[in-house]
Symmetry: C2
Subunit: 569 residues, 2 copies
């Protein structure tokens, strides 16, 4: 059997199972896998040297397409550099297939070469971890290899999606001889996984709908990445006692949705705002105000829809855990209620106080936002507002963790042109933001923008040296010379260690990175400069562009604090 045959068959199973993109990190131990993917005409490969950045780039691609992206690295600590992105993929439920070449088991911990303990190296941060047999000569071993790949790729796609690890021990020789040829399409072993869906029994439906019908105020709170539910949510939000609340990362483009809760909830004390029934789905919430409000005013019932069997209850109020697809659930509820209304020939009744209260608060907050951010001041929040306002329709947006995603949650009403918003909220790390956004841009047709702070940007700046950056990529760095979030929270700002140990002030700018990488560089330090740049920044171009906005950290903090405190209902 030619050396590469088993590995070429693996690559073929991957493409048959829908893998289109493979990120390759250079190495010798992994050479056979690299060649097998590169020579497979159905696979596109991309080579990235820094494994940390490579894994986040692959994560970005998978996040954008929903398809499993494979990562390949050599043996040793390379595998550990994948780990931050693997953990993000696990918690954000992004499908990835992580292939780590390894020494054969007999050479582990023998003081010899690039060798660590790779088996189960990602711990609980993968859905499952496999290890291939090191000898392929017995037909059962080949059957096992092909079976593992079928299972691993299916698992990455099964709800909840996520990363799966296959450790691949390989003995020398690593490279094929000239005469070793492999014909694609010859010997594949592809087990098709038939789709299925969980449904709820009629009796249980009856119970749930009974609660729904009897509820006074119903809140539908939408967590991260709840795309493709617009229709169902529009219908539900017509209910006279239903409000739909969504953070910016929920990606819900329904006009009636409550978006400004971060701003107005801290000002609310009337019990008429408290829901009777809470319905949640999707992943995390950004809004601390919303979480605190709901933890304080626990609804009588809380339905949480989540296919993942883990019990995840950050609002501390769950009464019903419903392990079905959210679209199925919402559709059934909307259709049933609609049919009942039709049958009863009921006229549209007036909206409840509960709903009117929420709508009025939302309206005041929206007016306040428009009035107070487009002013003469120049700080992070104004700059963010101006950028949001200029973002093209149907464009992609990746928000940095720390401040950008928080500002965006206050300003999400400005994102009203079908922009699609992402953020690495699985682990909320700052370690791979640029890389993730670049991976997303590579799979996105329109303009793809990443907005992030200076600390996150420089942390992941290796990403910009990846060959062949997508020309649709736009990077906006809000540079206020350090980790300004620490000025905005009470604790550290009172400590003498604030500047050195928390803000960690820095004086870099992104100019030289752009000069080296051929990225077109823009810089703005005031409103006028920024508005001039924004007229052209999102235009199509042959190269990516980077805009660095310089603000003063202390001013940023002061203005944001007043923005929040000066709002009144």
């Amino acid at each position: 059997m030619p050396l590469l045959e088993p590995v070429f068959r693996i690559s073929e199973i991957c493409s048959l199972k829908g893998i289109e993109d493979v990120i390759i990190c250079p190495g010798s131990r992994s050479a056979a896998i690299t060649l097998a993917f590169n020579r497979n005409p159905e696979i596109r490969t991309k080579v990235i040297a820094d494994e940390r950045s490579a894994a986040f780039y692959g994560l970005g691609m998978a996040l954008e397409t929903g398809k499993t992206v494979a990562l390949v690295c050599t043996s040793g600590s390379a595998a550990l550099n994948f780990a931050p992105a693997v953990s993000e993929a696990f918690f954000q439920e992004i499908p990835m297939l992580v292939l780590t070449a390894d020494r054969p088991p007999e050479w582990i911990h023998q003081y010899d070469g690039q060798t660590i303990f790779q088996k189960d190296i990602y711990g609980k941060h993968v859905k499952k971890a496999f290890e291939l047999p090191v000898d392929y000569s017995h037909p059962d071993a080949r059957w096992q290899i092909e079976r593992i790949f079928n299972e691993a790729i299916d698992l990455s796609q099964a709800a909840p999606k996520g990363p799966v690890h296959i450790n691949v021990p390989i003995r020398e020789p690593f490279y094929p001889e000239d005469y070793e040829e492999y014909e694609f399409g010859s010997n594949k072993k592809h087990i098709r996984r038939v789709a299925h869906q969980a449904i709820i029994n009629p009796e249980d439906w009856a119970d749930l709908l009974e609660i729904w019908r009897n509820a006074d105020g119903i809140m539908v709170a939408v967590g991260q990445n709840s795309q493709d539910l617009e229709e169902e949510l529009s219908e539900l939000s017509e209910g006279q006692n239903v409000v739909v609340v969504a953070d910016v990362i929920a990606n819900i483009q329904v006009p009636e949705v409550i978006r400004c809760h971060d701003l107005f909830l801290p000002k609310i004390s009337e019990p008429t705002f408290n829901p009777d029934l809470l319905l949640t789905f999707g992943k995390s919430f950004i809004s601390k105000s919303l979480k605190q409000f709901l933890r304080k005013h626990k609804p009588k019932y809380h339905f949480h829809i989540q296919e993942n069997p883990e019990l995840i209850d950050p609002l501390q109020s769950m009464t019903h855990k419903i392990e079905v697809n959210a679209k199925y659930f919402l559709k059934e509820v909307a259709e049933t209620l609609d049919f009942e209304k039709f049958k009863e020939g009921e006229e549209d009744t007036e909206e409840s106080d509960f709903k009117l209260n929420w709508q009025n608060a939302e309206l005041s907050a929206r007016k306040y936002i428009h009035r107070s951010v487009f002013v003469e001041d120049f700080a992070e929040i104004q700059a963010t507002a101006m950028i949001f306002d200029a973002l093209p329709e149907y464009s992609g947006l990746h928000l940095g963790n720390s401040m950008p995603v928080r500002y965006a949650n206050y300003l999400s009403v400005l994102l009203d042109k079908n922009q699609k918003v992402s953020c690495n909220r699985g682990t909320s790390g700052i370690d791979g933001i640029v890389s993730t956004a670049l991976g997303q841009a590579a799979k996105y047709e329109g303009i793809y923008t990443c907005i992030l702070g200076d600390v996150s940007f420089f942390y992941d700046s290796n990403a910009l040296y990846i060959n062949g950056l997508s020309a649709n990529f736009r990077c906006v760095v809000i540079n206020n010379g350090g980790g300004n979030i620490f000025r905005l929270i009470d604790g550290p700002s009172k400590q003498p260690e604030l500047e050195e140990f928390f803000v960690t002030s820095q004086k870099r700018n992104a100019g030289s990175i752009c000069a080296e990488t051929g990225i077109k560089y823009f810089r703005a330090s005031n409103q006028l400069e920024l508005s001039e740049i924004l007229k052209v920044f999102f235009e199509k171009s042959d190269t990516p562009k980077l805009l660095e906005v310089f603000t003063d950290g202390e001013t940023d903090a002061t203005i944001f604090k007043s923005f929040k405190s000066e709002f009144t209902l």
Copy 2:
């Protein structure tokens, strides 16, 4: 009890147990730990934003001093960015205390903030992993915390040294109030660990010495980091049938030591070179020639000295595993044999053929090296030789993995001025070389030089943005535009994927990084330029210096291949 009291007590135990340096990565969850270390007058802290780089920097410090260095990070993927350095510390046996702040257990995997599965996150790459209790109110919990810190720091120092992990779940509030004060020196709980040493029973000694006396040819092969054994090895190497063989990373400064084995062993076929008894200690070997030679010509006896109870036998020939300190073993052997010789009044006999063969081969190789590297050609190997020749006496040298350490092993006879050599051979990664060397430089009195290739350099370039780089640091980047090792091994150089997937050519240079960081930048593209720069490069200065040597990858490969093949005995 003031909020910070338990954490301040922890910081005090750390300083009492000999920890002097703590690397802090900024974060809010970890704030109390940060403050406790910063306010402890016995501790020096250093703030580094990129956790990957931070951990390698700490590793470099611990490698240089032998003392445990503590790392502190916030919750989430920060902890995973420590992992590459943690694995290097484990396999290179470097003492580290890894403190990861965490959410309390009830908040793990609840879609809320920076949270991953941190318990046991480093798997088998730490000597032991602890988790602190989250509630400190019960006195038993405080007893447990102090006990854990005593054990963890002791473990990091017990042979084999290594990293120990303590996960620290912390509930809000994270920051003390103004009135909360802590007096250092008040309430410490310091359990002293009394030193001990393993010795061998007289009967076993008798057996071992009997084998030694009866052996025809004895080879002592010295693995990585075997410092402080010069005296014992000098004495042993006087034996008429004993040769001592040491790679460059062994750090043995004994003139009689065989150093050029990488060059001459592939040319050896006579059985008179084969040892009868092999004695090994220290960690890994670089020389592939030596490993292959010993695997092929298995000695009758192979004593391996290693305190680590794992059975590590990369030469596949071990007959006796001796779990004692190498210094004790060598001293006992040398003294016993010396005493016996003295007692027997034996004259120094003639050296054995075995020894003469090795000495002659070494002599030819040394002459060849001097003759063939100081020539008019300009390639990696000549540049490395010129740099070695210029390195100051008693200076430190960290070698990059991949090519630099391999070149150095061929040229180690040029390092004849008490230079101390390190290399991250625990995992042989390229992920933290600059950071490690910077950490070493910070703890080194003289000039500290790091020599590495362009791919490794740019991979870890965040390191150069650390605030307060030591002025004694010298960085030499051999830039041949990619991962040239792949041109030097047979397999990849025959594949059409060579350039794109293995060498991964790049066109960057280090100039702009130096301009941004205030590092003095030098560049050389030929012998003349290089020799001019080397006249001043190692002089003392107020800022670190970086020398970038540009060579042509294909020429480098051709010249190195001829260098190896043209040598004859």
